[in-house]
């Protein structure tokens, strides 16, 4: 359970190699080292590197655990994820996995569907499992990394935007459904974030570093379910963009 200072003891990260998730763990550990960090993701060198990093974020009696998780076939990880909760309470869950489809993916039906499976369907599976277990715990905070891209589909990345729109709606609804159960869902809508996922791309206006997202997340723990825009100015900016007439919006160079 979050302590009286809103610091967690145990964290489950779904999407172990996410730069944003790493930044959140760092920020949490700076306030209070963690007793238990569970990293769920695809096996490989990247995940191993994150496991090694996480070792420095725990207390002397703390531990880092690893779970194989692939959002393309999330049901394979079902038993392992249930076992994570069986072994002890999880205070904070961070859902940080996702792919940014390339230009060519959008034209390939199989690749496009796979991107939707990872970003949306995989998240539905994971969030349903996590929602059930945290509800039974009587406490918990689920952090879901959505995106401003989900607020209105843009012709330049409508596939990614659509998967995030679905994720956002699911997570927001879940937060409302869990109201009164002691579980909060934090839906985070960052703009452009400088991460591995966006490396090489020209940054959009109002871009931020993962640390800014981490600060916003950690600052809102213990304050109930809500939607967070990072940076905060993204909220009025997106509101404006959402209300532009379609013929105008369609012609914007974004």
């Amino acid at each position: 359970m979050l302590t009286a200072l809103a610091t967690p003891q145990s964290v489950l990260v779904l999407g172990a190699t996410s730069d944003i998730a790493t930044a959140v763990l760092d920020r949490l550990a700076r306030n209070a080292p963690l007793e238990r960090i569970v990293l769920a993701g695809r096996a490989g060198a990247h995940r191993d590197a994150e496991v090694a990093r996480a070792g420095a974020l725990t207390t002397p009696t703390g531990r880092v655990e690893v779970v194989d998780f692939d959002a393309l076939s999330p049901e394979d990880s079902g038993p392992a994820l249930e076992a994570v909760f069986d072994a002890g309470d999880i205070d904070v869950v961070i859902l940080a996995f996702g792919v940014l489809p390339s230009e060519s993916d959008a034209h390939d039906p199989a690749a496009a569907a796979a991107a939707a499976t990872v970003n949306f369907t995989g998240a539905v599976y994971a969030l349903t499992l996590v929602g059930e277990r945290t509800r039974r715990q009587g406490h918990g905070t689920v952090v879901v990394l959505s995106s401003v891209a989900g607020e209105r589909p843009r012709r330049s990345n409508y596939l990614y935007g659509a998967t995030k729109a679905g994720l956002d709606a699911f997570a927001t609804g879940l937060g409302d459904a869990l109201h009164g159960t002691g579980v909060s869902v934090l839906v985070v809508r960052p703009g452009f974030v400088h991460t591995k996922m966006t490396s090489g791309m020209a940054p959009a206006p109002l871009s931020v570093r993962p640390e800014a997202v981490a600060d916003a997340v950690v600052g809102h723990l213990g304050r109930g379910s809500r939607t967070l825009w990072v940076p905060r100015t993204m909220r009025p900016v997106m509101s404006l963009l959402r209300h532009l007439p379609r013929p105008v919006f369609r012609r914007l160079p974004i």
Binding site: A4, L5, A6, T7, P60, T61
Partner: protein
């Protein structure tokens, strides 16, 4: 059964539990039999919650079952030697209202009267008379409880099981009734000696001196004062006034009620550093420059914070944490105050007291030496500072208080409470199926 969102008095963390109010021993046993965590791994266990005055998560059980024993609120006849049987759900407030007019007083009372007797025994509470009379557990004739197996049992002082339950934070059994030994009093008035002390040495010297002369002693300390004024304060010491004293109020005139209610929500940030300094300055200046002797009422002497009901709301939504430690090392008191000042952490409403010999329970908090208590607004940035203090407290041979703690890490518990394993063994005999659990026990890995 209602699903309720529960917190501690500091309102810093919340969790949801199913709450019931069993009215009979059988109903309590039945509730316990459905929550055997040792048998059903998915069960979240049971916890008895009193009036929720513990500051952290001691009276919370996320995802589990919480019992309220308000139905167990009887007060038996008071025998000639002051012994009385009291239901565990009886509040100290109710006991005082009943007993004081009859010329009896609780042997130990904490800073608020709004605690249940069961809760007070589970936390083995101490009061301003600890240096002379010890903690509440030393004044009991028996504890009746229902064990984890659902069996009613009477525990007597001197038994290992008794020492496991007293101070056991509700984790070893559901207390239903307690036998107390009350103290005879002649009036509803206290003779109060007030002395202003210019620095920490003077405050501690005055406490040492007053402990030898008075039954009840405590010091308010200005933890924001620096330099030569570090640790300045006001020492108040008192005794029950005999009936013959001028100004002594008759027992039948005893009244105790809250005078004001704080508003339901105040914006956080009401208590700024400069406002706290003003408050402390006012308290210090208001105390007489020379030592005085006055008559005071029982509520104003023992329970000043009860005067404003729900005073914890004054800190706004962010809540606050209370930090209380006991240490055999007097130097740690100065070190703690200085550490907080250097870190820019405002300790407020600080109280200092000397502890006498300790009780026999392995998890009983008081240890001979000094105890300092402070309120700190709950901000994340405070976490590393308090972690550091925990380490220094543990290193000094001291400990923090489970009834106040809502954020300590488990790694310090075994050093602070060296008899923890002994307590776990005895607890397992009372609760072999691991029925009792709390958010505190999960956070600190007590059992």
């Amino acid at each position: 059964m209602t699903r309720e969102r529960l917190s501690g008095w500091g309102r810093g963390s919340w969790s949801v539990s199913d709450v019931t109010h069993p009215g009979t021993v059988e109903a309590v046993s039945a509730a316990l039999s459905t929550a055997r965590r040792g048998v059903d791994r998915s069960s979240r266990g049971v916890l008895v919650r009193g009036l929720g005055r513990s500051y952290g998560d001691a009276a919370m059980n996320a995802g589990g079952h919480v019992l309220r024993l308000d139905a167990f609120d009887s007060i038996g006849p008071i025998a000639e030697d002051g012994t009385v049987s009291v239901g565990a759900g009886t509040s100290l407030h109710a006991l005082l209202a009943h007993a004081v007019p009859l010329g009896w007083f609780p042997p130990v009372t904490p800073g608020t009267q709004h605690v249940t007797i069961g809760g007070a025994v589970s936390a083995d509470v101490h009061g301003k008379n600890h240096h002379r009379d010890g903690s509440l557990g030393a004044h009991l004739t028996h504890v009746d409880l229902v064990t984890g197996e659902g069996t009613p049992r009477r525990l007597l002082p001197g038994e290992a099981a008794f020492d496991t339950v007293v101070g056991g934070m509700g984790l070893a059994g559901a207390i239903l009734e307690v036998g107390l030994r009350l103290r005879r009093i002649e009036s509803a008035t206290m003779t109060v000696h007030t002395t202003r002390t210019p620095d920490l040495d003077a405050t501690m010297d005055q406490l040492r001196a007053d402990d030898a002369r008075h039954r009840y002693t405590v010091a308010w300390v200005d933890t924001l004062a620096r330099g030569t004024s570090l640790g300045r304060g006001v020492v108040t010491s008192g005794d029950h006034a005999p009936a013959s004293d001028d100004g002594a109020t008759g027992l039948s005139a005893y009244r105790s009620r809250a005078l004001l209610g704080a508003p339901p929500w105040l914006p956080s940030g009401l208590l700024t550093h400069s406002r706290m300094r003003l408050f402390n300055e006012a308290v210090y200046r208001r105390a007489p420059a020379r030592p005085t002797v006055t008559m005071g009422s029982i509520p104003s002497f023992f329970h000043p914070l009860d005067v404003v009901s729900n005073w914890n709301r004054a800190y706004g939504r962010a809540g606050f944490v209370q930090y209380q430690f006991a240490t055999p090392d007097p130097d740690l008191v100065a070190e703690a105050i200085v550490t907080l000042q250097h870190a820019g952490v405002d300790g407020f409403l600080a109280v200092l007291k000397r502890f006498g010999p300790s009780a026999s329970g392995p998890l009983s908090f008081p240890t001979p030496g000094w105890t300092l208590t402070l309120d700190i607004p709950a901000e994340r940035s405070v976490a590393p500072v308090l972690d550091r203090l925990d380490q220094r407290v543990a290193e000094s041979g001291g400990r923090t208080y489970f009834a106040k703690d809502g954020r300590m890490r488990p790694q310090f518990v075994t050093t602070m409470y060296p008899r923890l394993d002994e307590w776990r063994e005895q607890r397992a005999r009372l609760d072999p199926h691991d029925v009792f659990a709390s958010d505190l026990s999960r956070r600190l890995k007590l059992c």
